[in-house]
Each structure stands twice: as C-alpha cells, then as structure tokens.
Amino acid sequence: MDETALVGAAQKGDLDAFNRLVLIYQEMAFNLAYRMLSDEDAAADATQVAFLSAYRSLASYRGGSFRAWVMRMVTNACYDELRRRQRRPTTPLEPMDNEDEEEIESPAWLADDDPSPEQVLELGELENAIQSCLGGLPDEFRAAVIMIDVEGMDYQEVSVAINKPLGTVKSRVARGRLKLRECLQSFWELLPAQFRLENEDKL
C-alpha cells in the first residue's frame, strides 16, 4: 500500500494505517526534534506529541507532501517545548560529561555498528560541534537549516513545514548557514580531515 492509500485509510480512522506512516517517518521526526531541542527525552516527547497531533488533525491534511505536513507537526511541537522552556527555564543538576557512563550508552555511540575508537572520537567531536553550533542559532533559522541540510528536505517541503513562503526559507537557510560557518570555524581542527579546506591544511 503506497503512502497516499495509507493516508486515505488513516483519514477514515484506520489506526494501523496511520501507525505504518509513523514507522516510516518517526526516525526523521525524532532527529529533527532532537536537533531542535538538544535533548533526547524532550525530543521523544515532542515526537510523540507531534504524531498524536497529526492523527487528530488528519482531516486538515489536503494533499501534498505528507512528510512535510508531519514535519510541521514536529516543528510546532518543538516550538511549544522551546516556549515552555523560556517560561520555566531549568538547570540540569549535573552537567553532561563525555566521560560519563551514561553518555557512552547514548544512541550517538550506538549509531555505528562497529566503529573504531578513532571514528567514535571523531563522531563525538562532530556531534558536539554540530549540536553546539545549532543550539546557538535562533529557533527559526535552526529549523530551516536542520530540515534542509541535516534531513535533506527540499525548499518546497520546508516552506510547507514552517508555513512560510519560499523566499523566507531561502533567507533563513542562508543566514543560518552563515552563522554556522562562523561557529564551526572554531571546531575545524577537531573535525575529521575531509572537512578541512586545502588552504587550512597549508596554514
């Protein structure tokens, strides 16, 4: 059964059909939420809320990219969580430490089936650099950059997902990339060699 048929069945109340759509998009939704919120538990909650909201709002889906429509639900759930954090800011009791045992059990380390210690180290550095720089972006820029550069969505889908015109998407992506470029420059030496420019190697 293709996606259109699944969506049609879900709109008629078929929960199994909707759950099959959830299985298709849950990884993308969770990664988007994680990049937006920088917290795995909060990302899981936002993803669950987004799918629940999507199921309840299925009647409002009028065709087009279902992936973009679902990502809009995820983005909205993340914005809600970010607003909640601004209203009630919290401070973790213990700062995250790479040497912690909990961090070793994180999915980032489990993502590769059999990584070498060097690869694990590089991935950890890359992950930290990306997440740190993404966290410094304004929410609107972050959402656009994550969807375009991390999740590989096209401009039209992002326009649907953030409910903004294409021009706004282009502008936000460009400005987000410019800020990320400046931020990532402080991490170039820590990044894998393939990300270093020729001129930097000579410096």
Binding site: L23, Q26, A44, K170
Partner: protein
C-alpha cells in the same frame, strides 16, 4: 584589499549550493566566482558547512512512536456536530438580534396599535354597529364625523412615550412633572409608572368623553412647560374623546377586554417567548460547540 561580501551574496551562494538559482543568475555568479577568489572561498566555506551538517550522525529512535487505541481514541460521531452547532448558534443569534431590532422599529408600536384597534371596531357589538349604520350612510354625518381623540400620557413632560412601552421598557422618568408619572405607552395607564410586566395592562380603562366635553378639554389650559403642545393634565390622561353618544358606546370597552386586546397581548408575549427561546438556543448551542471543539 579584499572586497567585502555582502549579505545578498551569501544568500545567492546559499541558493546556488541548493540549485535554487535560475540559469541567468547562475551564469552571472559563475562569472563573479572566476573573477573574485574571495567569493569562491566563501562558497567553499558554505559548502563545507553544508557537508558537515549533512554528515551529522543520525540518532536512533529510543522507541516506536506508534499510537495505541487508548492514546488516539477514534473521534466520536458527535464531535462532527460541532460545526453544525456553531452554525445553529450563529443563526439563532442573528434571529435574536433581528427580533430585538423589530421591536425597536418605530412602526412596531403603530402596528400593534392597528393590530389592536382595527379588530376592536370590527368586533364591536352588533347593536352598536347597527346604531352607527345610519350615521355611516348619511353623507353629511360622515363628513362631520369627529375622529375620536385619545388622550394618553403626556409625551414631553412625562419622559416621552416609547415604542418600547408595551414591552415594559417605557421612557425615562418624568421631567418637571409629578413624581411617579413616567413615559406611558400605548396600553400603559398614566396612573401607573413604568410598566413592569411584559404584557401591557390597563388597570383603569380610559374614560370616554363626548365631543362637548372634548371641546372643554380642548379649551383647558395645557399643563407642563415642555415645548410639545397638547399635553393634558394628568387626570385627563387615559381618556378617549369621541364625537357622539354612539361613538361612546363603540369605545366603551378597553383593548384588553376585547379579543383584539387579548390578541395584542398574546402577540407581545409570544414575541418575548421566542426571544427567550432564541437566547437559550444561542447559549446552549454555542457552549456545546465550544466544549466539543475543546475536547476534539
């Protein structure tokens, strides 16, 4: 000295990386890239940034996010009633406003007067109509017939009669007049102040006077200091002045005592019952639609 790269250039470079430029824009940019090494370097840095982001490690989902029937209850059929309830509420509100607007119309008072008076004449006792018949057939008497003069509550000095008077919403309190005399409507007695009941009531029927008495009345000095002429003393209010004895017998009944008066009261009562019903409908359906939308 390296030329500065403007924000627009960054936007063009970013769009170029994503293939969002037109052919003409792309040709122009390539020419600039060949001529400006710093622009080429900026493009390289942006491309590297994009590559870094694209290579970000993927997170595995900690669990499945599929929904259970308990998490996503199937929408109950009555949830679909919300739009209909909203529409019904809006429609009832519109009708309610129209009904109030109808009662505020200047013609509403007159229409009720006609509604009451016309049947009163038609339903007068047969004997009275028989007595009037010769007069009606006589051309001279017809031309000389005096129209009945009905003296209701004073208009200006008593705060003004209002179209709302039959609804128990008479004019304001008396200004420069005796206390307790406020605006009196069509069926309100001058002795009573503002009618309190929805239906008009006449505790004392208007007194019928003959034409000669009417002449006296006409010569009586006007009361009050208001600019409106014809304001009668308060003791004369509520009297009906007719031209002859036959006319007197014709009007020797009050509106409420006639079927027409009862019909008028019934009409006003019915209108208010309808308005109350519409108000209940507006509130009931509106609240129901609101809570249905909140729960859905």
């Amino acid at each position: 000295m390296t030329p500065r790269i403007f924000p627009d250039d960054w936007e063009i470079l970013s769009a170029y990386l994503d293939g969002q430029l037109s052919d003409r824009e792309m040709t122009q940019l390539r020419q600039r890239l060949d001529a400006q090494p710093e622009l080429q370097r900026a493009l390289d840095e942006l491309q590297r940034t994009k590559m870094v982001l694209r290579s970000a490690p993927r997170r595995r989902v900690p669990r499945n996010f599929t929904l259970t029937p308990a998490m996503a209850p199937t929408p109950k059929p009555w949830y679909r009633l919300a739009p209909m309830l909203s529409f019904a509420s809006a429609l009832a509100f519109l009708l309610l406003v129209l009904s109030f607007g109808f009662t505020l119309l200047p013609g509403f008072n007159n229409s009720t007067q006609i509604f009451a008076a016309a049947p009163a004449v038609n339903q007068a006792p047969a004997a009275t109509r028989a007595a009037l018949a010769p007069l009606a057939n006589d051309g001279t008497s017809q031309s000389n017939a005096q129209p009945p003069i009905i003296i209701w509550g004073g208009a200006g000095g008593n705060g003004g009669s209002s179209a709302l008077a039959p609804l128990g919403m008479g004019g304001g309190s008396a200004v420069g007049s005796e206390p307790g005399l406020s605006g009196n409507g069509l069926l309100a007695t001058p002795e009573k102040g503002i009618p309190t009941s929805l239906a008009p009531s006449v505790s004392q029927p208007p007194t019928i006077l003959s034409t000669s008495e009417a002449g006296l009345q006409k010569s009586a000095p006007l009361e009050g200091t208001g600019p409106i002429l014809g304001v009668r003393p308060t003791e004369e209010m509520g009297k009906i002045v007719v031209g002859s004895g036959a006319d007197q017998s014709l009007y020797e009944t009050t509106f409420e005592q006639t079927p027409a008066g009862q019909a008028n009261s019934f009409f006003v009562r019915s209108l208010h019952v309808i308005q109350v019903g519409l108000l209940v409908l507006v509130l009931g359906t509106g609240l129901a639609a609101f809570f249905l939308r909140r729960r859905s």
